[in-house]
Subunit: 426 residues, 2 copies
Amino acid sequence: MDQKRIVIIGGGFGGLTAARSLRRADVVLIDRTNHHLFQPLLYQVATAALSPSDIAWPLRTVFRSQRNVRVMMDEVLSIDRADRSICLRESPPVSFDVLIVAPGSRHAYFGHDEWEEFAPGLKTMTDAVRLRQHMLSAFEDAERRLASTGKHEPLTFVIVGGGPTGVELAGALAEIGRKAMGPDFPNLRLDDLCVLLVEGGPRILPGFSPDLSDKAAAALSRMGVTIRLNSLVSAVDKGGVKIGQDFVPSAGIIWAAGNRASGLLDTLKAAHDGAGRVMVNPDLTVPGDPWIFVIGDAAHCRGQDGKALPGLAPVAMQQGRYVAQLIEEGVAPSSRPPFIYADRGMLATIGRAKAVAQIGRFHVSGLLAWLLWCIVHIFFLIGVRSRFRVMSEWIWYYVTFKPGARLLFEQPEPAHRESRGSHRTG
Amino acid sequence: MDQKRIVIIGGGFGGLTAARSLRRADVVLIDRTNHHLFQPLLYQVATAALSPSDIAWPLRTVFRSQRNVRVMMDEVLSIDRADRSICLRESPPVSFDVLIVAPGSRHAYFGHDEWEEFAPGLKTMTDAVRLRQHMLSAFEDAERRLASTGKHEPLTFVIVGGGPTGVELAGALAEIGRKAMGPDFPNLRLDDLCVLLVEGGPRILPGFSPDLSDKAAAALSRMGVTIRLNSLVSAVDKGGVKIGQDFVPSAGIIWAAGNRASGLLDTLKAAHDGAGRVMVNPDLTVPGDPWIFVIGDAAHCRGQDGKALPGLAPVAMQQGRYVAQLIEEGVAPSSRPPFIYADRGMLATIGRAKAVAQIGRFHVSGLLAWLLWCIVHIFFLIGVRSRFRVMSEWIWYYVTFKPGARLLFEQPEPAHRESRGSHRTG
C-alpha cells in the first residue's frame, strides 16, 4: 500500500477531510487556491461581519505537521482515466494510483450563463470580497445621489434562491442595512432599503420541515425582508431583475439558486445527472473504476430514502472519511460496505439571535437554535485562532452592532493610487 | 462661526485628527476610500501578519457619534480658490469657507513613472493586498517550478529604499520566508530566499542616529537580509531591477523610496518644493489665503532646525489639532502662533523582538524597543476591537510563528469561478 500515490482534487470539506484521514499513504492534494474555505460562513464575509482570514486556512499550514500530504496549488484541467494521470495548468501531469475527485460545484444559471455577470453567486472568497465591495459601494452611491438630488429612490437588493444561503444573506443584509448602516448615512432613511428574496418553489428553506420554513419566513418579514414565493426569474441585466412579468430595478443581485457540478467532471467521461454530478456506485467510485472516487457535491449519491444526498458539508466530510478508510485498509471492491450518510440535522441562521434547527424530529427556532448554530459553527472551524477570532467578533457584533470588516478598498487604478496622511508613528 | 463650512480633503492622520478636533463647526470630510488607514502597520497586512480590517476603520463609523461631521466618499479633482469650492468626480461641487487640504502623498519614481508597474509601493490597502498576493504567489510558483525542474533558483525580493518602511518590509519578508514559509514548502530550501534591501545613501534608517542605523543593519543581516548601501536603481522591468551596473533578477520588487505630494495640490496654484509639497506659512496656510490650510505630508513646513518636517503620522496629527484649534477659536491671521512640532521620538521595527527607538537623546534597540513599539502602535489604533485583535494576533504570532492571514484568493476570472466541497454545515 505504501508505494501507491493518492491524488485528491479539491481542498474543500470532502478533499480536506480525506487528506487528513489518510495518515499513511503518499497523498498529493491539489487546489486552485492556497486555502481551505469554510463556506458556511462565507456570507458573513460578504456582509462585512467577518474578515477573510477568519474563515479560511492556508492548506500548507493545515498539513504542516502531516508530512505524508503534499499540497500543490494548481488548476486541474482534465483527468485521463486510461493513463492514470491528471493534466494541470501550470505543472507537468501528475500520475495516480488512487484518485479522489472533490472539485465541488459552481452556480447554475439554468442555461443563462450571461446572467452571472450581473447576478454573481457566493462560492469563493473572491465572490465574497466582491459582493462586500459592491454592497458598500451601493450604499455610498445612494447617499451621494440623495445628497445631490434630494430624491429618495429605493435601494433594492435582490437575492435569488430561498435556500439556506439565500435566507442567511437576506437576513444579514436587512440587519446591516437597517441597524448598522442606517445611522452612518444621515441622508438615507430606513425604508430606502429593500431586500427581496425570490424563491421558485412554494416555501423558503425547502430542505427543512414546513413549520420551520414558516418560522423563518415570519422572522425575515419582521426584519423587513420581502419574500416572493413561486416566482421565477426570467431576465437579469445591469439595472435589475425580471421576476415573471415584473421588472425590479436593483442595486445588487445575488444568485443563490442551484448548483452545477464542476466542468472538470466531464473529462471523467462517466454518466452524470442533470446537475452534472457523477452517478457514483454505493462505494462512491466511478462505475467500472474501483480506485477513482467522487465525493462531495460533485457526486450523485443516493441516500436511504432513494433521493440524492444534498450538497452539505457533513455529507462531504463523512464521504471523505469513508473513502480514506477504504483506501488505508485497501478494501477490495467486492467487499466494500456502501456509504451511508449519518444525518445529524440541519441548521440555518436568519439574524442576530434568530435561527432554525431540525435535528431528527426535534425542531427548534429562535435564540436556542441560534446558540446551537453558533456553537456548531465555532466547533467546526479549524484551529484555536479562528475559533477565538470568530467568537470574539460575534460577541463584539452582538453587543455593539458594529460589524468589524466594513472596508471599501479604493478601485485598483494605479494612475490614481495615492494615499493620505503620513506613514510613520514614532 | 457656526455657519461656516469647513471642508477637509483626506481622511488620513492629519484630516482625521482635524475632523475629530472640530467639535462645533459644520465639517465635511471627503476621502476617496471609505476608511481611515493606519499606515504604520500596512506592511503587516502586506506580509500577511494582520488582516485589512485590523488596521482600517470605516470613516462613517468613526464619526457616527460626532454629528457635526459629514463624511463623503468621493475623489477631489480640483480646488478653486477664487470660487471657494472644490470639484468632485461623482458629486456636484462643494463650497467651503475654510479648507483643510490633507491629501497625502504617493510614491516618487524620480521621473520613471513606468517603473511603478513592476515596483509597486505600499501606500493603500489595495497596495498591501496586492503585494501579499504577489508574494504568496511567488512562493507557490517557486515550489511548483522546483518540483517540476528540480532546479534551485534563488527567489529574490528587492526592496528599494532603506527608510522605516523598507526596513520593516525587509525584516518581515525575511522572517516569514525563513521561519514560517520554510516548513510549508518542502521543496524550497531556506537559502533559496534572498531579500535585498537597496538604499541610495550611506546608511539605512537615515532619519535615525548612526548607532541605531548600525544596530538595525546588523539585526537585518543576522536575519538573512542583504543590504546594499550607496546603490541607486537605474532600471526596473518585469524580470528584475538594475542596481548600478548589476542586473538582479527578482520575483518581486517593492518601492519604498521617496514621496511625491498629491497631484491635487497643483490646482491650488501655490509655490511648492521639489517633492510637490506646498510651501506653507508658519500657521500652515497657503500664502495669501488665511483660511486654506495644508497639513501632513502635503505641506512643506519648516521645523525648529530649519529643515522640512518629515512625513510622519505624529506631525500630521499635531498639525490637524493645531489647525482645528485655530478654526474653532476663529484666531485672526495676524495673531496666530506658528505651528511647532513636538518631537516625541521615532520607532522602527525590524522583526520579532527587534526594533530601534530614538527618543531625544535616549537610544534603545532590541527587545525593549520592540515592546515600546508594540505598545505605542496598539495605543494609537482606533477602538477597543482593533487594539484587542491586533494584540491577540501579535501574541499568537509571537508564540506560534504562524501568521494569521496568509490567504491567496483565486484570480478573479469569472469563467473559472468554481468552488469545492459543499456549502452548508447542519
